[in-house]
């Protein structure tokens, strides 16, 4: 039984058009023409309990819109959404207690006060008894490596500390479904790592379902076994991350190190040279001919080291985004 079921989900936004300039403005005052923007167009997928799913796509693809429909903030134009047996847009309390939404670019913490005060408000809101709440705060703070930061006014915290406090506030009620919209936005590499670890641990500990959007591929590769790719409002790919690379990148990346200086032009008919150095080279070789070509290479050159890998995920993604692959 999937926890999240989405079928034929669409969302259109109505936006008033306006011509630039004074006359356009004046006309705009009296009559308005609206165009509809199709932010999401009949997408569908199922997600099981405990899955961590990466939701990726270029800017304006409709990721945030989809997440907002999944947690019931905006009403779909058409289609069916079902999250753990609820229709999100009704926003039943039972449903709301089961989910959380974390947005990297918005925050719920009270700006002028320490996070602990916002946490107390949240505890009251979710009906968590004081004792239980302070136990949970301790536990989560430990997992997130937060200490006295909880007692400093939010406006005096760094971006990373603030984000961690946001996460704490959003998870105080132990939701079992997490919607995360760019949770690592603007964090440094270490903080990103810590947030990722935290999410992984949370998922393991509470069997939580997590849907995550991010523009940092490292977030996706390290957390998500399955990804959804969306582009221009349409679902483009749904499946394991590994298969995406296979499907969209027919070649593999081969790095070779030689014992002696060689003539690189000899390598040309093995594959596409991406980078060359004195003693090493990176080649893109088609998957199908890979065993054959490696064999030839080993026979014809004196090779010190050899490494075969998928091309970096960013490259594949950027190819998909720029529609170079059909």
């Amino acid at each position: 039984m999937p926890v999240i079921r989405v079928k034929d989900l669409s969302k259109e936004y109505l936006v008033a058009d306006k011509q630039p300039g004074l006359i356009g403005t004046f006309r705009h005052f009296f009559s308005r023409e609206y165009t509809s923007i199709k932010a999401v167009e009949s997408i569908g997928f199922n997600i099981d309990r405990g899955e961590i799913v990466g939701f990726i796509g270029p800017n304006g693809a409709g990721k945030t819109t989809t997440l907002k429909m999944l947690c019931g903030l905006i009403h779909p134009t058409s289609g069916v959404v079902n999250v753990s047996g609820n229709i999100p847009s009704l926003r039943k309390y039972k449903f709301l207690k089961d989910i959380t939404l974390v947005m990297g670019q918005k925050q719920q913490l009270i700006w002028d006060l320490p996070p602990i005060d916002s946490l107390k408000v949240n505890a009251a809101v979710y009906g968590i008894p004081d004792k239980e709440a302070s136990y949970r705060i301790q536990e989560l703070a430990l997992m997130l490596d937060l200490k006295e930061e909880l007692n400093r006014p939010v406006r005096k915290l760094s971006l990373g500390q603030r984000m961690k406090a946001e996460l704490l506030a959003s998870l105080l009620h132990r939701p079992s479904i997490l919607f995360l919209d760019e949770p690592t936005l603007g964090l440094d590499v270490n903080s990103q790592l810590r947030v990722r670890d935290f999410l992984y641990n949370y998922n393991q500990k509470y069997q939580a379902t997590i849907i995550l959007t991010s523009h940092y591929m490292a977030d996706i590769t390290s957390l998500c076994k399955r990804i959804l790719v969306i582009d221009k409002g349409q679902l483009f790919y749904d499946g394991p991350l590994a298969k995406l690379t296979q499907q969209f990148s027919p070649s593999r990346l081969v790095r070779l190190e030689f014992n002696e200086q060689i003539n690189f032009s000899l390598l040309k008919h093995y594959g596409k040279i991406i980078k060359q150095d004195n003693y090493s080279v990176k080649l893109l070789i088609n998957r199908n001919d890979l065993p054959q070509k490696i064999n030839n290479l080993l026979n014809n050159f004196s090779i010190r080291d050899l490494e075969i890998a998928d091309p970096p995920i960013e490259e594949i993604i950027s190819k998909i985004y720029s529609n170079k692959i059909e």
Binding site: T64, I74, R91, K94, L96, K106, Q107, A124, G127
Partner: protein, 268 residues
């Protein structure tokens, strides 16, 4: 049993809300001084203007000086409610719609209208509260009015109805921010609607009175509670007041639900 639990839950939430907003307010100490000053200034100004109306006649729309003071007293009480709750929360709602943090409120398992209406509380309504009570007291004593318990209770009920009417009107304005994202001036509108409540309704031209009674029911904010206190409120008028309060309140709840259907949440 279940009801009591819910009430307890909301009391706990309100306690948390107000203690946090109090601790924010107290960081700005200058404000207390400013607020006391404006309460006093407002009182002096209102009394001065009121006295100008009494230079030629000694009634204003049939109300003698001391009973006008009672109306002014109720007006000041209303103002204290406005300063403490309506104004700070209204500007918050507008801001939250603008920058999209309303999302977080909507995702909480709490009645969103209650949250938005009473999220913050400003202690600076207190001076007006005190001044209002003093004005009513002075009006009653100097005017030699006798008030029995019953009319005190009725007047209180009518005043609560007035507050509900005002609150509902205010929340209606706030709800429209879902469509018209910028309505900073809503506070202004509210204030100017209120100002007409400083004087008895009967002081206005006949043509305006129905508007001030039914359309913008200012009459029920000050005039009717004052009449009730003096025991001269027509029963039918009070019933109309109660009805309007209920209708407005129910309407504000449903309108908010309706408005939320159009909430698109600020982009990104």
């Amino acid at each position: 049993m279940l009801r009591i639990n819910i009430i307890l839950k909301y009391l706990r939430i309100l306690f948390q809300f107000w203690s946090t907003s109090l601790s924010i307010e107290l960081e700005y100490k200058l404000n207390l001084f400013v607020e006391i000053l404006s309460t006093i200034g407002n009182l002096a100004g209102s009394l001065f203007v009121l006295s100008m109306f009494y230079t030629a006649d000694n009634t204003l729309g049939g109300w003698p000086w001391h009973s006008s003071l009672i109306i002014l007293g109720f007006y000041t009480l209303i103002e204290s409610f406005t300063i403490s709750f309506l104004q700070p929360n209204l500007s918050r709602i507008v801001k939250q719609v603008q920058n999209g943090t309303l999302d977080f409120v909507l995702l909480k398992p709490v009645n969103s209208q209650l949250w938005l209406s009473f999220r913050t509380f400003s202690p600076y309504g207190l001076p007006s509260l005190i001044v209002g009570i003093i004005l009513i007291y002075i009006g009653l004593v100097k005017g030699n009015y006798y008030v029995n318990e019953l009319s005190l209770i009725i007047s209180f009920v009518m005043f609560i109805c007035g507050l509900i009417i005002l609150y509902s009107l205010w929340f209606l304005i706030a709800s429209t921010s879902i469509w018209f994202v910028k309505i900073w001036n809503a506070n202004e509108v509210l204030r100017s609607v209120l100002i007409s409540g400083r004087y008895p309704i009967s002081a206005y031209p006949l043509a305006l009175r129905p508007i001030l009674t039914f359309l913008l029911p200012v009459a029920f904010l000050t005039t009717v509670p004052a009449q009730a206190l003096l025991g001269i409120a027509p029963f039918s008028l009070m019933m109309v007041g109660v009805t309007i309060a209920i209708v407005f309140f129910v309407f504000s709840i449903n309108f908010w639900k309706y408005a939320l259907k159009f909430y698109t949440s600020a982009s990104s």
